[in-house]
């Protein structure tokens, strides 16, 4: 279904990004996954190859503007226009707002919000010319519900939702859709860092009674980039087991 499409997935080494890369590959796309280290890029190349997916891992620090431009130019030259972009890379620097330093705030906003804008801007030209584009931004349930200790993360994720809606309006006439997928409590390295107490409290608030899997999130991304979702833009698909309903 996505044959001949070039997809870029940021933060694809493990967890949700990995599951998304594999899902897009399963649908036939050529997948370029980004990692912050050579080691990570190697892992991406390895699992893509193992699954029979065209594509590879590359090193990209999404907060590095010059490197981002260079990487996008290289991919365009080698493979053609990127017409599927999944902004998944994200970090946390949790702290109570009273104690949160500017550095913690800036690091999260730079990676989770500014880089999403920069990468989206970087692929627009190719998508406009192709008269086809799918941008899926991975936000988070806490961008909608709020979460103590995550003022920076929640602000960035809510920002991504606003960014997505604006881009959806700007680019809709060129058959480019822009949507968010908002994961809830997903079993990944990021949520592994929570205490047992925090995890128990989370599970108690989830109607489906379990943590989500990276594949649960990848399924929603797979839908949004597929022809089945060609009339869906500017919205958020919540994948959270019902812990938050809007």
């Amino acid at each position: 279904m996505l044959n001949d499409k070039i997809a870029l997935v940021t933060g694809a080494t493990r967890g949700i990004g990995r599951a998304i890369a594999l899902e897009l590959g399963r649908q036939g796309a050529t997948v370029i996954g980004t990692a912050t280290s050579e080691d990570g890029a190697g892992k991406i190349s390895a699992y893509l190859t193992e699954s029979g997916v065209k594509g590879r891992g590359i090193v990209l620090n999404v907060t590095d503007a010059a490197q981002t431009d260079a990487v996008l130019a290289d991919i365009a030259k080698e493979l053609g226009a990127i017409t599927i972009l999944v902004n998944n890379a994200g970090i946390t620097r949790d702290n109570l707002a009273m104690r949160m330093g500017d550095d913690e705030w800036d690091a999260v906003i730079d990676t989770n919000l500014k880089a999403v804008f920069r990468l989206s801007r970087g692929v627009m030209r190719g998508m406009m010319k192709a008269r086809f584009g799918r941008i899926v931004n991975i936000s988070s349930v806490v961008g909608y519900s709020g979460n103590p200790g995550q003022a920076n993360y929640c602000a960035a994720k809510a920002g991504v939702a606003g960014l997505s809606r604006s881009l959806a309006r700007e680019l809709g006439s060129r058959n480019i859709t822009v949507n968010c997928v908002a994961p809830g409590f997903i079993a990944t390295d990021m949520t592994h860092a929570l205490t047992e107490e925090q995890k128990a409290a989370m599970l108690a608030s989830i109607p489906l009674g379990r943590a989500g899997t990276p594949e649960d999130v990848a399924g929603a991304v797979g839908f949004l980039v597929s022809p089945a979702a060609s009339y869906v833009t500017g919205t958020t698909v919540h994948v959270n087991g019902g812990m938050f309903m809007d």
Binding site: R125, M128, K129, L171, S173, R174
Partner: protein, 78 residues
Amino acid sequence: MDNIVERVKKIVAEQLGVNEADIKNESSFVDDLGADSLDTVELVMALEEEFECEIPDDQAEKITTVQQAVDYILANKK
């Protein structure tokens, strides 16, 4: 010169989906040819490709008619 005018008109026709015969040198992309803001950005992108040049944003803003595009290309041609 005439060649450049023709090339610009051809690109404008393609980008804006208008008939080449309806495009005059003084035609305004927005007011006469129905372009929206995204169309004008795309038009500048297409001109950059056709004439192998880079048009800075502050200059691009001033290109609102066929003639202004032609003038810019003539002035900045390598």
